[in-house]
Amino acid sequence: MRLTFLPWRTRHRALACQEVVELVTDYLEDALTAADRKRFETHLAGCPHCTEYLAQIRETIRLAGRLTPEDLTPDMSTDLTDLYRRWRAEG
């Protein structure tokens, strides 16, 4: 998101918490300009709530990454082996 679209932004003003939470993904994706990154980090250094918020987003990502898919059922396994053999037979 470009900061210029946020109505309450004025140049060089410090970021408000409400702006910071909208920039978290761009920050993590390294998509902020150097100047905006600096403003983001400056805000965080003085704001425990936004620091907590960022930590929670990181935790959300970490928990999502731990989700394991369900195991292959015997039925699906059989179906797919059949599929393979049919494909082989197609030549």
């Binding site: 939470v21 929670q56 990454g65 369900e70 082996t81």
Partner: protein, 198 residues
């Protein structure tokens, strides 16, 4: 673990065992992704089977410019979209809700109701199975596009470039969808787990 490239080589040489290993490795993730496009499990399983068949038929032509995982997911997304019941009634991309509800901020944009703590709760006091259930429930509540992006990025661990290729969306679009999706999942974790210490 055997590398995908090696398995592909064996598969091309007609080794059935290589196919079985690939299926064991990727089928679950493919099914999960398919379920985010279609409503019924039966249809999702069909989409996944169609994908495997397309993979076998496309083996010769696959040049390995993308990773195998990205290739599999791309085929799957194309198949699912042509079948996609769920996709057709999904919310358009521009779902412009804020990351955090505006009522939680004061007039100057500072926190009025700051984030409630829940990280420690999630890590130390809640069962992994409960977390899994919470996350899956919260994925289910996301608009389809957001769910797809979060699944591919955060659950499957694809890079942003890979996600853009798989879903045929722009980097900027991907970031917006990821932002909305992650924000909502964080919010539901906070709602479910937050404030337990008080």
């Amino acid at each position: 673990m055997e590398l995908d490239g090696e398995l592909l080589r064996r598969l091309r040489a007609g080794d059935e065992r290589a196919f079985v290993i690939l299926v064991e490795r990727y089928n679950g993730a493919m099914l999960r992704l398919a379920l985010s496009f279609v409503d019924s499990r039966a249809v999702a399983e069909e989409v996944v089977q169609d994908t495997w068949l397309a993979v076998l038929r496309g083996l010769v032509a696959f040049e390995g410019r993308s990773s195998l995982k990205t290739w599999l997911f791309s085929i799957l997304v194309n198949r699912a979209r042509t079948t996609g019941v769920r996709e057709s009634r999904s919310v358009p991309v521009a779902d412009a809700g804020p990351a955090v509800d505006a009522s939680r901020f004061g007039p100057s944009g500072g926190w009025a109701a700051p984030p409630e703590q829940w990280i420690e709760e999630a890590e130390n006091r809640v069962d992994a199975s409960k977390i899994k259930e919470l996350l899956l429930g919260s994925f289910d509540g996301l608009p389809a596009r957001q769910r797809e992006v979060v699944l591919l990025r955060d659950v499957e661990g694809l890079s942003s470039t890979e996600v853009c290729a798989v879903l045929a969306i722009s980097e900027a679009n991907q970031r917006v969808l990821l932002h909305r999706g992650r924000s909502k999942i964080r919010q539901s974790l906070e709602s479910e787990l937050g404030g337990a210490a008080r």
